[in-house]
Point group: C2
Chain length 483, copies 2
């Protein structure tokens, strides 16, 4: 990172003007200009294209230097061979941030690609211009109307993503959207020729609009500086990190993807041990942990009360939780006695896991009568509810109605429960059960309840949530997140 | 197991008559009688209920002994306290198989429960009657029209399940149905007071209608006998085993569920190492392995060619595969050169993972042009195709059409591919992408292609498939399965 550069300012996420260099004049494909317009970007947009006069109803300019006003942010969408000239123009114009979308640089393994990338870095040295990329999707910031996908939600949230991969960032946004979680800033930064994870982390540590940070990183160029940047965040908010390219051939793939030299799994393990950030191994797990950090609060311990379906489903759920590092201890004698009071015919299924009466109606009844009893149990810290949609109610003709009623009952019960709560809502692929499950998930997550796609994903996420009364000093400082 | 008993005959799965002792006269709930009728059971049904004259249009009898003809199979659906008398009547009638659905015996932890179960076992000793259960769902055999759930498919298949848990067996049936896989015989056997896994395994080893056996087991009473029974199957067909209750509290939960004393994880590990059965840790994993055993053939090695989405998605997929024990080596120089011939502008994304042109149309084109090239690659053994539905085509208004066209193209390409093939078809929860994915999954699985819900589930399953040219003698004997 050039030493003479200014600290990353808020302007990057709230530019007053954006130029699209190489703006598409096609009316068929969705280009950067149309995407910004559709996403309600409120600033000035300057399409740069020497071949046309107008794009999407906006005046087009032959060169960025022709734009009548200063340009905060430029998106380079030109072939790799034309990038140097485009960047030179941006520097001349005094553009503050240049996002180079184009690929074909250090990551393609050719000498020419490496040379081009090195030239780009040299070109901005000593200038007021900072470079994002090359080979990246750039910025998604719903508040300012910046996006790199027309599929992203316009809703604002309090999660930030810093990702070398645009596709990984996209999957995280979409997976979180499914559970009604939204974002403050998402940054896809590709080859990191200039701006790197460090810069974004320093900014996000201070960002009052961000409560949780997720990082997808392939290469760490400066280990100690990276560690220091993550530490700055951890003092204020949790950081979950997916370190990719940890396997032998994953490392090779990452070199082809972003020209990154990755860390092996052992290095990451040491890093996590030392610093208290939260490790994730897959994109789905990252999304699950993000949800857990947002919705599972006041974890005083890792003992789980499993509610929902007993029998073999309960036995397997118990094994899954304990394999993930959690415990599923028997309820206290007092709790067991109270549960027998409301389910005198339940046999042995009241010890943990606890089995409501069969069917969704039985579950609904139990949420209202049984959860307060389990909330008072002294042996468990968190309640995990299994909603096994297919085997519960697959044959019910009014499945969606029954399940949504059950979800509303759980929301009502959850209001007076002090223990943290998580739901494993799972079903096979039969369309009616999938749609019913989606309706229930929407109700529950809108009420702020964490909903996972299975016991395994729930257990993995729960096991990663820092304990409120943790002995670990780096976790101690993480405040409870706003609801 | 009483020594004087006959070997388990086929009659258990194809009874000429079934009596339901304690048949429900309710017209509202679905009882055993209605379920058999709806499932097209062709034999004689005798409802036994002293309070009514007729159930579901069939003449009801006060006692099983009043049934006019011999009874092959009786289902006991009476309260636990009435079970002994009902069983006594069955023995007097000479019923060949009694399925005790009722719970509240050894598993409930009470002295009375244990006494009742022990009395049941004594009662059948020396008789011609064998007991299934108590505390179990019994038999699902689509060929004969026996079922314990109205949600189960009527289609016949070649998979058998032997499960102490009815709910686990049900989930397996439903998960496999989602990928168009069907069953020969499914047995839920609960507390195993008489008939145990051993008996079913000995039968299924010889069963010409069964190609693959899946086992959900909590307790193994006689280790050496169990091992010998599994060995008999392994000589003829693969056996996948979910050993449940392996964690400390999972063992406790299993004791409450089926009164079983479980094996810890270490014992299972030793067992699998010694015998060559395939271990599974969760129900979903069991279903994935069942699908793999049915559809992934001629595995000559564990090197995976990943096709579909490169970038970060490809890096993470590579890590997932290698963590599961697979390899993702670079393609041969020759393969890379040929791929460059059809994708000259692809940059670095041709080495493995390989990245088709963006969008589903790009994927479709690649299936037809690229897969034959990868099929000839000398460095890889199996092709794993990533269909990332949400990030590929979430914004396409005609997503289902594009995706189903892509699925048909893949089916066409697969016809001439010799390498085994698997698809990881994944999406978030957005309804349009879920429905499109379901349509594609249906097309692919009907064509006999293995489709998993993600790279992690695909990799886990692939890693469990025995190699065709394995050095392991227990695997050597497993023949290729019929298509």
């Amino acid at each position: 990172m050039p030493a003479d550069k200014i600290q990353l300012p808020d302007r990057m996420f709230h530019p007053t003007s954006i130029a699209v260099v190489g703006a598409s004049s096609s009316t068929e494909e969705t280009g950067w200009v149309k995407r910004l317009l559709d996403f309600d970007y409120k600033g000035q947009i300057y399409p740069i294209n020497p071949k046309v006069k107008e794009i999407q109803g906006l005046r087009a300019y032959a060169n960025i230097c022709d734009a009548p006003d200063p340009v905060d942010y430029a998106i380079l969408n030109v072939p790799a061979r034309s990038t140097l000239q485009a960047l030179r123009d941006c520097v001349a114009k005094g553009v503050k941030f240049v996002h180079c979308y184009t690929a074909g640089f250090g990551e393609d393994g050719s000498d020419e690609g490496k040379r081009l990338e090195s030239e780009m870095t040299k070109m901005i040295t000593g200038s007021r211009t900072r470079l994002l990329g090359p080979n990246c999707m750039g910025i998604y910031c719903p508040e300012s109307g910046m996006t790199f996908s027309e599929d992203f939600p316009k809703e604002k949230g309090r999660i930030a993503v810093v990702s070398q991969s645009g596709a990984e960032a996209s999957r995280l946004v979409l997976l979180c959207q499914d559970v009604n979680l939204y974002f403050s800033k998402v940054i896809s930064y590709g080859n990191a020729a200039d701006l790197d994870a460090l810069d974004f982390l320093e900014y996000l540590a201070q960002d009052t609009e961000t409560d949780v940070i997720a990082l997808y990183v392939e290469g760490v160029k400066d280990g100690p500086a990276f560690m220091s940047a993550v530490r700055k965040c951890l003092g204020k908010k949790p950081v979950v990190i997916l370190g990719a390219g940890t396997s032998e051939n994953g490392a090779r793939a990452a070199l082809s993807h972003t020209a990154s030299v990755t860390w092996p799994q052992e290095t990451w393990k040491g890093f996590f041990k030392q610093i208290g950030a939260i490790p994730a191994l897959t994109t789905d797990e990252t999304a699950d942990i993000i949800q857990g950090l947002n919705r599972i609060r006041e974890m005083n311990g890792q003992s789980v009360a499993i509610v929902g379906r007993g029998g073999g489903i309960g036995v397997v759920a118990t094994d899954i939780c304990e394999r993930a590092g959690l415990k599923v201890p028997p309820f206290s004698k007092e709790t067991q006695a109270k549960l027998r009071g409301i389910r005198p015919d339940a046999g042995a299924g009241l010890r943990n896991p606890v089995e409501p009466k069969l069917g969704m109606e039985g579950a609904t009844e139990f949420y209202l009568q049984g959860l307060p009893i389990i909330d008072a149990d002294t042996e468990t810290d968190i309640i995990l509810i299994q909603m096994a949609v297919d085997i519960y109610g697959g044959h019910a003709p009014d499945l969606t109605q029954i399940l949504t009623e059950s979800a509303y009952a759980l929301c009502a019960a959850a209001d007076s429960i002090r223990k943290p709560l998580a739901v494993a809502l799972f079903t096979g692929g039969r369309t009616d059960t999938v749609l019913a499950a989606a309706a229930a998930r929407d109700i529950l997550t809108k009420a702020g309840i964490a909903v996972f796609s299975g016991v395994e994903s729930a257990a993995r996420a729960i096991a990663r949530i820092p304990l409120t009364k943790s002995q670990n000093s780096s976790n101690k400082q993480i405040p409870n997140l706003k609801k």
